[in-house]
Point group: C2
Chain length 110, copies 2
DNA sequence: GGTTGACATGAACGGCGGTTCAAGTCAGTC
DNA sequence: GACTGACTTGAACCGCCGTTCATGTCAACC
C-alpha cells in the first residue's frame, strides 16, 4: 500500500490524514484524473484521452486514488467506469473536491 | 532547489504547477505552518510551538514554503517573522489559501 | 474454448524528498 | 569585540514514490 493511502487509513481526521490526501492529489496525472471526473464518470480509456500516459501507469495512479477513497470504480462490460464518490464531489458542481479535512476548489476557467 | 519548487518555477500556470504547489502543502509540518500563519504572522519560535519539531527541520520546511511563494519572511530584530503573502491569503479570512490554480479552504472547526 | 481488447497487479529500479548532523550567519547584549 | 540566541545553510543518508516491464485477470466475440 502506498504511503499516502496508508497514512490516511491510519490517521483519519488528523492533520497527517489531510496531508496524505493532498499528497495523493499532488501529482499532475492524478490531479488531471480527478479534474476529468469532476465533469462526470469516465472509462479508463476516456480518462487517458485527457492524460495521455502509458495505460499501465494510469492504472497504478487509479489504484492510488481508489485506495485513498478519492475515486470509485465499477465494471462496465469490458471497460471500467470511474467516478468520484458522493462524499468527495461537492458544490459548486464540478468545481471542487472535499478531502474531509479541507476543500479543494478549482477556478471557473477551463 | 526542491523538486516541488522547481516544478512550480518552470511551469507556472500549468497542471504541473498546481500539482507542485499541492505537493508543497502535502506535508503535515508545512500544512501546519500554513494553517498557523492563517491566524496571523508568527516568528519561527512561535510557529514551532505549533509544530514541535527540530528547529533545523522547520527551517528547511520554511525554505520550501518560501521558494514556493507560499510564505514570506522578514527580519524582526533577532527573530524572523513569517507571514502569508497577500496573493495567497484569501477570503474567508483565515480559512483558505489561494494556490493560483486552485483554492484550498479549511473547515470552520479548529 | 481460443483470441482479442481493456485493465489490473507484481516486482524491480532510480531519483526525489524528508530527516539529521555539523557548521555558518545575523543581530542584540555585556 | 566576544558571547549568546535565533535561525539558516550545506552535506549526506535513506526510504518512499513514480515509473517501467512483465504477467495476470476479466469480459465480449468468433
Amino acid at each position: 500500500m502506498p504511503r499516502a493511502a496508508r497514512g490516511i487509513a491510519g490517521t483519519r481526521g488528523s492533520a497527517a490524514a489531510c496531508a496524505g490526501r493532498l499528497r495523493v492529489l499532488a501529482d499532475p496525472t492524478r490531479l488531471a484524473v480527478v479534474r476529468a471526473l469532476l465533469r462526470g464518470p469516465r472509462h479508463v480509456g476516456e480518462i487517458n484521452e485527457s492524460v495521455r500516459i502509458d495505460p499501465t501507469l494510469l492504472s497504478h495512479h487509479l489504484r492510488v486514488l481508489r485506495e485513498a477513497g478519492l475515486v470509485v470504480a465499477r465494471r462496465d462490460g469490458k471497460a471500467v467506469l470511474y467516478d468520484l464518490p458522493p462524499s468527495v464531489a461537492v458544490l459548486p458542481a464540478g468545481r471542487a473536491v472535499d478531502l474531509g479535512c479541507c476543500v479543494l476548489s478549482f477556478g471557473t476557467r477551463r
